[in-house]
């Protein structure tokens, strides 16, 4: 009997699975956007804010403008749980849902998943967007035509943080001591090359201290920091590690005003749990928090006014990660706009067209103003050689209740960092037998 049930359920699985993959009926005037996202799992809280913002903006474009030039946006989520294997499964599932758009452009917000998808998306000819994370040498579009680490990368961020610290010291860091405290993973290690290159130029003493995943025990590391007594700590933390670091710094009496975190170590999810220990802590960011940005206020009015908001906890609207999700959606919708301007307004864009648009993206100050997004994210101008398009961050500081801006937009040292990307991309091209060239679709 049990076997029969088993066979029956397996048969059902087969039938349903096949059904799930048969392409959904493609509406003639709908732009289907695939969202391989996560709301549960180790970083679920971050995913909820990020993808909540993303979906809210898509909803906003539909409600306010009736879509992009009349093309309505539709989307479907697939839960990856921040797991690489699941991410690949989700990608394969969503890709087949709509044969015209193939999911438009993928934002997976996970370095591991984007690494796994880089080859697949290139073969399938679908754009993969990694805003502020991912395989950073994909900045070189001649080797990675389908991957876009838009806005800025870890290396440029590290360089910008050093610039910020140098500016505080009258332009030099000569003889200073800087600790680089990082999550011992792909994410934490990527900026090391940039930090080392900067330490040679600025002649500061760099001390690298790794923290093992998940980082909820940092006693030894902070003891060492107290002994070394560095001038600054550049902090590359993640998840639970961030609040632990702030509390540990307080315990050993290291001033938080001298710690500068990365943009994944600078959200309300990190500072609020740390309580008073977080006051004065600084972090980089490529998108501004708060509702003073007109676009965020308008989203709240239009989308939540219509009762169609995606956030279960609407008080998080305007948080760093929420606004980051909105920024990512803005980039996607602007790419659709750019694609339609070139290939025909009011038409559904194919992935090839979206790729072209992402490579010829030009979101300047005027465009940001028109969107009501002035100050939300830096201006972006991409090209075949530069899939990053900006490389700017701002430094924000936690005043005990909210993030306030501590600097204007700072651009990392492009002439130092971009050759590092090119060298790394060249090595990849050699391993894979790719001849670097600008894509002609």
């Amino acid at each position: 009997m049990n076997t029969k049930q088993l066979t029956a359920s397996l048969g059902l699985a087969l039938a349903l699975g096949t059904g799930a993959t048969s392409p959904a009926f493609a509406q003639s005037n709908e732009q289907f956007i695939a969202l391989a996202d996560y709301r549960v799992g180790p970083y679920g809280a971050n995913g909820q804010s990020f993808y909540g913002g993303f979906i809210d903006y898509l909803q906003y474009v539909n409600l306010k403008n009736g879509g992009v030039n009349g093309v309505k946006l539709t989307w479907e989520e697939c839960e990856t749980e921040y797991n690489n294997a699941k991410g690949v499964e989700c990608y394969e599932r969503l890709k087949g849902k709509n044969p015209t758009t193939k999911g438009t452009a993928y934002h997976v917000m996970a370095t591991g998943i984007s690494y796994a998808l880089i080859d697949k998306t290139a073969t399938d000819q679908v754009p993969l967007v990694m805003m502020g994370y991912g395989r950073t040498d994909a900045v070189d579009g001649t080797v990675f035509p389908w991957a876009f680490p838009l806005v800025t990368t870890y290396q440029m961020q590290a360089s910008a943080i050093i610039k910020f610290l140098a500016d505080k010291n009258g332009g030099q860091l000569n003889g200073k001591k800087i600790v680089f405290l990082y999550h011992d993973s792909a994410y934490g290690k990527e900026p090391i090359v940039a930090m080392q290159a900067e330490s040679k130029i600025h002649k500061f003493n760099l001390i690298e201290i790794p923290v093992a995943h998940p980082g909820n025990e940092q006693g030894a590391q902070w003891l060492r920091i107290r002994q070394e007594n560095p001038d600054y700590v550049v902090f590359w933390g993640w998840g639970v590690m961030n609040q632990t670091a702030l509390k540990a710094a307080q315990k050993v009496g290291y001033p938080r005003e001298k710690i500068v975190g990365s943009w994944w170590a600078g959200s309300e999810e990190d500072t609020i749990p740390a309580g008073p220990a977080a006051k004065g802590y600084m972090s980089a960011t490529w998108n501004v928090a708060g509702k003073q940005v007109p676009l965020i206020a308008d989203i709240e009015k239009v989308v939540y006014g219509a009762g169609k908001g995606n956030m279960q906890d609407p008080s998080k609207v305007g948080s760093v990660l929420y606004n980051r999700g909105v920024s990512a959606a803005v980039a996607t919708v602007e790419a659709l706009n750019t694609a339609q301007n070139k290939f025909g307004k009011g038409k559904v864009s194919t992935p090839v067209q979206v790729r072209w648009a992402l490579e010829n993206l030009n979101i300047d100050a005027a465009r940001l103003k028109a969107l009501g997004a002035t100050g939300l994210l830096p201006d972006i101008k991409t090209s075949c050689e530069d899939h990053e398009g900006s490389g700017k961050v701002r430094i924000q500081q936690w005043d005990g209740t909210k993030w306030v801006m501590a600097s204007d937009w700072i651009e990392g040292n492009r002439r130092l960092i971009h050759p590092l990307f090119e060298a790394s991309a060249k090595q990849y091209a050699k391993e894979k037998g790719i001849t670097p060239a600008c894509f002609k679709g």
């Binding site: 076997t3 699985a13 370095t111 894979k432």
Partner: protein
């Protein structure tokens, strides 16, 4: 009735010692193979091939490896994912550093490297067993991941520790389309499953089972414990290593050390527990259960929710999926602690006497 063996006479030793002594089994296995090799590549969609069948086969192979060690030789291990990582990284390095290295040789050498690491971490099994051994193999899990991030040479100095698999071709045929990848993985897995099936029927398998059932008794009847246990670790790690290489080259395309976390080891352990400890078929059934059920729930729950007009969000679906999944595992283990393979065995016995049960 369906499994009537009446009339199937074995008149020679060869006939008596074939892998599947019952004709029905032979027919079933052959037809499964015919469908897998001849039919599925034509009818399965790209999604099925790349996102379901390939990972299913890869995890079946890893589960098979663990099953040889845990199910047959009785040595509990939590280092499966680490051995997979060794296989993946070693294959990558052999392919990268030696010009003109055939991919199959890379995979075999990757498996061999995993086997060596397996032997090293299997050494404690000579002194300790059960849970204690499981904790000792946990060291493999931590050590291998640490080594992969610590020594950048292993990942070709990639700044992030992530490797991307090279393009592969077998005997001049590029393995690049979903169908070819599937057929390649299927070929490797079929071959290795066949070898495993024969291995456990041979004197080696019998020695493993003797050690599993009572190692003192096994030693008394002259089985060299050290050799047998270490061989089990070597063979098992070899299987896991090849599975890791296939996982990197034919499924993900790029792997990072974090991908081979303890979590993956546990998943593979669950596969053999659900599928059936000490059974080749069980490895496949377990992998199917652990991999396919979440996907099935994922695609059916939202539909059910809309049908019942329940306000489900994506996150709720995920949570319900975890609960149902956990519940089913508990149910299965209570209903049949020996796993799905045992259920199949019971079914066969019932079919044999159908329609006259006692």
């Amino acid at each position: 009735m369906f499994y009537r063996e009446a009339g199937q006479f074995k008149t020679s030793y060869v006939a008596d010692s074939q892998i599947f002594p019952i004709r029905q089994d032979r027919i079933a296995v052959c037809s499964v193979l015919v469908v897998a090799f001849g039919v599925l590549p034509w009818i399965a969609s790209e999604y099925w091939l790349t996102a379901i069948l390939v990972p299913f086969l890869v995890f079946s192979l890893a589960a098979l490896g663990l099953n040889l060690l845990t199910g047959y030789a009785g040595q509990l291990s939590l280092g499966t994912a680490a051995f997979m990582a060794v296989g993946a990284y070693a294959s990558y390095n052999f392919q990268l550093r030696i010009d003109g290295m055939p991919i199959l040789a890379s995979f075999a050498l990757g498996g061999a490297s995993a086997a060596l690491v397996g032997i090293a971490f299997g050494l404690p099994s000579l002194r300790i067993k059960g849970f204690y051994l499981a904790v000792a193999t946990l060291a493999a899990q931590f050590f291998v991941l640490w080594a992969l991030t610590k020594f950048p040479w292993l990942s070709n100095n990639s700044s992030s520790g992530v490797i991307t698999a090279q393009k592969i071709s077998v005997f001049g045929v590029d393995v690049d389309t979903p169908v070819r990848k599937y057929l390649f993985v299927l070929g490797v897995v079929t071959l290795m499953a066949l070898v495993a099936k024969n291995l456990v029927r041979s004197h080696i398998g019998r020695a493993w089972m003797a050690v599993r059932d009572m190692d003192v008794a096994a030693e008394v009847i002259g089985i060299p414990l050290m050799r047998v246990k270490l061989l089990a670790f070597a063979v098992s790690s070899f299987y896991c290593g090849v599975a890791g290489a296939l996982y990197a080259y034919c499924y993900l395309g790029s792997v990072e050390p974090d991908g081979f976390s303890l979590d993956l080891s546990f998943r593979i352990l669950f596969m053999i527990i659900i599928g059936g400890v000490g059974s080749i078929l069980g490895s496949f059934l377990g992998a199917a259960f652990i991999l396919l059920l979440p996907i099935l729930l994922d695609s059916t729950l939202p539909a059910i929710a809309t049908f019942l007009h329940l306000p489900f969000t994506n996150a709720t679906v995920s949570h319900i999926q975890l609960m149902v999944f956990g519940g089913l595992i508990v149910f299965f283990l209570i209903a049949e602690p020996h796993g799905l393979a045992r259920l199949w065995q019971i079914a066969k016995e019932k079919l044999r006497i159908w329609p006259f049960p006692h």
